[in-house]
Subunit: 346 residues, 2 copies
């Protein structure tokens, strides 16, 4: 076997802002470690940009002109519009799509993935069902019948594209998979911690966006650093309580990895959910309109998560126990005045 | 007994920026609760401002024109330049002075305070001795032979002066004292949590300033939110580890009160230690010069704490176990280039 045909074959499903940054990282790493084949196929949801196909632009310019302009992607990344072509013969799937697209993608892949394939989800979101929380890693795992790790951390995408230092966390069920993915992702500026807690890592990644919407509301109201820190503290405690209540086996240590407290902080100061929530207060426009106006085609995960969380809290009669999460929902979707973010939680 | 002579008599030792904000809060609260007499004497280290004495200006204008300009102080606050007059017959001492002045003040008060007097320390700092950490509450308690609580939280002073919402934490040894001080301090915009952990509360208040200097260095280097969140996370973990290692009995919950994670966050985004550390990087000037240039007479607590912490780490041979704290010391005082804040901790 030649180097090209031996080893793990990595497919990247997703090519948004974060997915494109990740393509840069993993495409370099596959050339450094013998475990991997050197080409990374990246699934691109085809769009037309000034009359040209986005896949063609990416493969020609080695740049995602729409979602990560100005950053060069390695030449061993191949943008492909056909999902099934991307995953063909892949042994490793890196899944980085908006939460909203998960079911559609899984439906297309169902029955077509070898059960030995190892996957990792970078998706920020959560679903609820009759029994409680349904983590996205489980949605994928059950649909495709494969093992799924998770990756989340204090990872504002553009800063990593610029190669500023950050940390991240990979949650695994099987240590060897955690270690394989650490090799695939770690660089000198992107430091990977691994922990045996797939669901803890991914739920932190989803729930932190609820806190960030609270932080953005405080910013919009110009209440200052003390108030914002108080909201972040309360949100962090509600996040922990919620995860513990609705999902067994989450590790305390997970909250102190990059995916926990660090991501809460980074998202509450630099993330897009914070930004849109601030504008929600200052402009008075609804979230769906601001998503279109401010995010240039990126999706807002936080408002979906706010709704999912509130659905489960309402059904279980727990709104009084999760005052901050409940108040954020009511401000965002039921017309409660933003300034009640303080009044209604104390 | 009339209302005026019955009940706890509160003396406030200190009249800097934070002390003056506190004078406003406690002077209102003593008029609301029957437990207290209505006058609050406030010790002012006498200074001359444009030819007038600061105490006279405060008592005439009901404003601390030097340390909290623009904020009206209640008329039942009486500024007094004589420390012994301030504490005469006091049953409650609120101590809010820079760490640097503690020994001098205690030496003046020694033997003159009734052992039944209840005190609370708002001081941010820590001392070390041959046995390890010497909390300021213990310095006061041993010198004056009285019981000492502590107060600390995400409390940037000027924001509380403006009556924006914040939380704080009071650490107590005796629950009744914690509850008395909660009455003295709590207002609708200043929410007090109490916890049976005097030293935990005050050490968080001291050590968070070390993290803030690290955060300010990251800001000065313009490394972005991910890097800053990573430094805050690592600093939070080193703070916990340090406190646990050098002081028994600190509660895990203390780190999740306002004095813990919330104060770390507020200080790393809005505090003076962060600000001066950022300027240390961008201007290249030493900390003592920047303290004079940037703080209008306020003292920088963080650099003193950085030195105290490093003294104990060096003596115990623990610099390798506390890489971030050690690197911050070396950048601040040994000429290590600021950019090594990342390189030397990973």
């Amino acid at each position: 076997m030649t180097r090209e045909s031996a080893g793990e074959k990595v497919a990247l499903i997703g090519s948004g802002n974060w997915g494109t940054v990740i393509s840069k990282i993993i495409a370099r790493n596959v050339t450094k470690h013998n475990e991997f084949q050197q080409e990374v196929k990246m699934w691109v949801f085809e769009e037309t940009i000034n009359g040209r196909k986005l896949t063609e632009l990416i493969n020609e310019k080695h740049e995602n002109v729409k979602y990560l302009p100005g950053i060069t992607i390695p030449e061993n990344v191949k943008a492909v519009p056909d999902l099934l072509e991307v995953v063909r013969d892949a042994t490793v799937l890196v899944i980085c799509i908006p939460h909203q697209f998960v079911h559609n993608v899984c439906d297309q892949l169902k029955g077509k993935i070898d059960p030995k394939v190892k996957a990792i989800s970078l998706i920020k979101g959560v679903e609820t069902d009759d029994k409680g929380i349904r983590p996205i890693s489980h949605v994928i795992s059950e649909s495709l019948q494969i093992s799924v790790c998770s990756l989340s951390g204090a990872n504002i995408a553009n800063e990593i594209a610029d190669e500023n230092f950050s940390e991240t966390t990979i949650g695994f069920n099987v240590r060897e998979e955690g270690e394989l993915f650490k090799k695939l992702f770690e660089t000198k500026y992107f430091r990977v911690g691994i922990i045996n807690d797939v669901v803890g890592v991914e739920l932190c990644g989803a729930l932190k966006n609820v806190i960030a919407i609270g932080a953005g509301i405080v910013d919009g109201l110009k209440l200052g650093e003390n108030t914002k820190a108080a909201i972040i503290r309360m949100g962090f405690l509600e996040m922990k309580k919620f995860m513990r209540k609705f999902y067994g086996g989450i590790k305390e240590e997970t909250f102190f990895e990059s995916c926990g407290i660090a991501d809460v902080i980074a998202t509450c100061y630099g993330g897009r959910n914070r930004k849109v929530a601030e504008s929600f207060v200052t402009s008075g426009k609804p979230f769906d309109q601001l998503e279109k106006e401010l995010l240039q085609g990126q999706k807002l995960q936080g408002t979906l998560t706010v709704k999912e969380i509130n659905r489960i809290l309402s059904r279980e009669g727990l709104n009084d126990e999760f005052k901050l999460f409940t108040t954020i929902y009511r401000i965002a979707f039921e017309g409660l005045p933003p300034k009640t973010i303080i009044k209604d939680i104390i």
